[in-house]
C-alpha cells in the first residue's frame, strides 16, 4: 500500500500523463497570479469601502485592472541597487521570498470529487487529483517553506546596507520564527487528528464520517476550535499582516525590510506577500474546513463542485484578512512577543496534550465524557503549578535584587 499517491502516476507514465502534470503546474501558476491580481484589487476596494472612500475605479470595470496597471508601472521603473548594498544578496533576496510562496501552493487540493471518488477527477481518461503535488510529507512542506521564506525578508533587510531595513528585517525574522512554533504545534494537532501528513488525506478524512445531522466532519469541530483560533492568529502574524505588521510599521521604519527596493524586485516582494496571504487562507481551508470537500449537486459535472466549495471557503478567509487590516490597530512589539511565546505556544501545547489524551482514551475504551472532563482539570492543575513556580522564582529573584541594591 502506498499512501498519498496521485492515481495519475500509478499506471505506466506516458506522454499524456507528463502533459497532464505539466498542465496542472502551468494552470496552478496562472491561477495563483490571477488570484493575486484579484486579491490586491479586492483588498483596496474593501478597505476603501470600510473607510467611506471609493477606491480604485478608473482602470477597467470597477477598477479591476488597477493591479495590472500598477504592476506594469513597477516593471517600467528604474532598477536601483544602493551603493552600500551587498549586490548579490540584494538581488537574490526577492527570489528567496517568492519561490517558497509558489511552492507552498503546490500541496493545496483546489478541487476534486470527494463524495464518491476520493478526490479524484477524470481528465482525458486519467484519474488525477486537482493539486500539483501530493508529497508524503504534505503539510510539512508548508512549514519548511514558511521557514525558508524568512530568508528572503532577513537578507533583504541586511543586504540593503541601511538602518531601517535592517531593523525591519530583524523584527520580521524574530516574529516569523516565534510564531512558526505555534503554527507547528497546531499543525501537529491536525496531524494527530488525521493520522497523516498528506493534505489530500486530510481532506479525505474530513469528507467522511462525522457527527451526523449533516454536520461536516471538519477538523475545525473535531479538534475543538482552539487550534483553529491559534492558527488564524499565528498565521496572520506569520504573514506580517495587520495587526501584526510591525515589520513595515511606516511611522517607525519607513517601509521596513523593502525600503531600498524598487521596480521589479519590489514587485516580487509585493507579489510574495499577497501570494502568502492566499496560500495561508488556502491552508486554513484545507486543514480546518475540509478544503474542497462538499456535496456534489449535479453528478454530470462533478469536478466543478470541489472548486466551488474551495473558492467559497477561501473567500471567507481572504475577506477576514482584509477585515483585520481595516479594523484592528497594530500591536506593540513586546505585546506581540508576549502573545506568541506566553499565550499561543503554551495554549497550543496544552491543547495538543488534551487531544492526545482524548485519542488514548478512545483507544483504551475509556468513557469519552470522563476524559473530556478530567483532562482539562489536570491541565489546569499543571498550568497553575507552573505559574506558581514562575511566580515564586520571580519574587525570590526580586528580593535578592532588592537586597543587593539596598
Amino acid at each position: 500500500m502506498i499512501l498519498a499517491l496521485d492515481p495519475l502516476f500509478l499506471d505506466d507514465i506516458g506522454l499524456s500523463i507528463v502533459l497532464i502534470a505539466l498542465l496542472k503546474v502551468g494552470l496552478a501558476f496562472v491561477i495563483v497570479l490571477i488570484s493575486v491580481m484579484f486579491m490586491v484589487w479586492f483588498e483596496r476596494k474593501v478597505v476603501s469601502d470600510m473607510q467611506h472612500r471609493i477606491g480604485p475605479n478608473i482602470a477597467g470595470p470597477w477598477g479591476l485592472f488597477q493591479t495590472l496597471a500598477d504592476g506594469l508601472k513597477l516593471l517600467m521603473k528604474e532598477d536601483l541597487v544602493p551603493d552600500r548594498s551587498h549586490r548579490f544578496v540584494f538581488k537574490l533576496a526577492p527570489f528567496l521570498a517568492i519561490v517558497p510562496a509558489f511552492l507552498t501552493f503546490s500541496i493545496i487540493p483546489i478541487g476534486g470529487n470527494f463524495e464518491s471518488k476520493d478526490g479524484a477527477i477524470n481528465l482525458w481518461g486519467h484519474d488525477t487529483f486537482l493539486q500539483v503535488a501530493d508529497p508524503p510529507v504534505g503539510i510539512l512542506l508548508f512549514l519548511a517553506m514558511s521557514s525558508i521564506a524568512v530568508y528572503g525578508v532577513m537578507l533583504a533587510g541586511w543586504s540593503s546596507g541601511s538602518k531601517y531595513p535592517l531593523l525591519g528585517s530583524v523584527r520580521a525574522s524574530a516574529q516569523m520564527v516565534s510564531y512558526e512554533a505555534a503554527l507547528g504545534l497546531t499543525i501537529a494537532a491536525i496531524v494527530l487528528q488525521t493520522g497523516s501528513l498528506s493534505t489530500h488525506d486530510m481532506v479525505v478524512d474530513q469528507a467522511t464520517g462525522g457527527l451526523g445531522w449533516n454536520v461536516p466532519n471538519w477538523n475545525l469541530i473535531a479538534t475543538g476550535f482552539v487550534p483553529f483560533v491559534i492558527f488564524l492568529i499565528a498565521g496572520t502574524a506569520e504573514l506580517n499582516r495587520p495587526p501584526f505588521d510591525l515589520v513595515e510599521a511606516e511611522q517607525e521604519l519607513v517601509g521596513g525590510f523593502h525600503t531600498e527596493y524598487s521596480s521589479f524586485r519590489f514587485a516580487l516582494f509585493f507579489l510574495a506577500e499577497y501570494l502568502n496571504t492566499i496560500t495561508m487562507s488556502a491552508i486554513i481551508v484545507t486543514v480546518f474546513l475540509g478544503g474542497p470537500a462538499g456535496p456534489v449537486l449535479i453528478e454530470r459535472i462533478d469536478w466543478v463542485w470541489g472548486i466551488v466549495w474551495f473558492l467559497t471557503k477561501l473567500f471567507v478567509f481572504l475577506f477576514s484578512f482584509v477585515w483585520f487590516r481595516a479594523t484592528l490597530p497594530r500591536f506593540r512589539y513586546d505585546q506581540l512577543m508576549d502573545l506568541g511565546w506566553k499565550i499561543l505556544i503554551p495554549l497550543s501545547l496544552g491543547w495538543f496534550l488534551f487531544l492526545g489524551a482524548r485519542n488514548i482514551g478512545a483507544d483504551q475504551g475509556w468513557n469519552r465524557w470522563a476524559v473530556v472532563a478530567v483532562a482539562p482539570v489536570v491541565g489546569a492543575a499543571a498550568a497553575a503549578l507552573l505559574m506558581a513556580a514562575v511566580r515564586t522564582a520571580r519574587s525570590e529573584r526580586l528580593s535578592q535584587e532588592v537586597d543587593s541594591h539596598g
Binding site: M1, I2, L3, A4, H86, V89, P135, P136, V137, L140, L141, L143, A144, S147, I148, V150, Y151, M154, L155, W158, L166, S169, V170, S173, A174, V177, E180, L197, R397, L398, E401, V402, H405
Partner: protein, 203 residues
C-alpha cells in the same frame, strides 16, 4: 540512472556549499553557503525515500539553526572580515589540521577498506523490513521505532534539550537594573508639585 544524475547534482551543490562555508570571508555568505549544503543534503535524503528526514532537515537546520546564526551575525554586526593573523587559541591551527586529516583518514578507510564496501544500495536488513512495517510510510516507521525501541533515548534527548533551554534562560536572565523591582507604594511617592492653578478671575 536518474538516481545517479540526481546524486551527482546534489553532491555538486553540497560540495560547492561546503567549500563556500570555509572559503568565504563574509560570515553571512558563509551562512548562506551552509544553507545551500543543507538543502543539498535534503535532496539526498529524498533520493533515499527519507521524505520526513528531508522535511525536518529543512525545517530545523535551514529554517531554525542557520536563521539563528544569521540573527546573531546581524545583531552583533560581525559581518566584516576577521583579521586572520590573530590566533584566538594557541596551537589551534595545527591541531585543526591534524584532526581534519584524521577525519579524512577515517572516512577514506570506511569507503575503501570496509568489508562489504560501500555500494550506495539501500539498506535492506533490520528495522524497516519487519512484517509489521511493510507498506508503512517512512513517517510511520520512524514514529514506531522512536516510540518503542528507542523510547528511552528519545525521552532522555527531550529532557536534555529542556534542561539546555532552562539552563540558557537561567544563565542569561540577570535583572540588571531597577526595571523589575516592585513598584514603590503609591503613598511613598514624592510627586513633583502640581503646576499652580491659574486663577480664572485674573484674566
Amino acid at each position: 540512472m536518474s538516481e545517479v544524475i540526481v546524486f551527482l547534482f546534489a553532491a555538486a551543490i553540497i560540495l560547492v556549499g561546503a567549500i563556500g562555508v570555509v572559503a568565504s570571508r563574509n560570515p553571512v555568505h558563509s551562512a548562506l553557503f551552509l544553507v545551500q549544503t543543507l538543502l543539498g543534503v535534503a535532496v539526498l535524503f529524498i533520493l533515499q525515500d527519507a521524505h520526513f528526514l528531508a522535511a525536518v532537515q529543512i525545517m530545523v537546520y535551514a529554517g531554525a539553526i542557520v536563521i539563528l546564526f544569521l540573527f546573531v551575525i546581524m545583531l552583533l554586526g560581525v559581518d566584516k572580515t576577521e583579521d586572520l593573523e590573530v590566533e584566538p587559541i594557541a596551537g589551534q591551527r595545527p591541531l585543526a589540521a591534524v584532526v581534519g586529516a584524521a577525519l579524512l583518514g577515517v572516512g577514506l578507510t570506511v569507503v575503501l577498506v570496509a568489508a562489504d564496501g560501500v555500494t550506495g544500495a539501500r539498506q535492506s536488513t533490520g528495522v524497516g523490513e519487519r512484517a509489521l512495517d511493510n507498506g508503512a510510510t517512512d513517517v510511520e516507521r520512524l514514529g514506531r521505532v522512536l516510540f518503542s525501541e528507542y523510547a528511552l533515548a528519545f525521552e532522555i534527548t527531550a529532557a536534555l534539550l529542556t534542561i539546555a533551554v532552562v539552563g540558557a534562560v537561567v544563565l542569561t536572565r540577570r535583572v540588571a537594573s531597577a526595571d523589575l523591582l516592585p513598584d514603590p507604594e503609591p503613598g511613598s511617592l514624592e510627586l513633583p508639585p502640581l503646576a499652580p492653578a491659574i486663577d480664572e478671575e485674573e484674566h
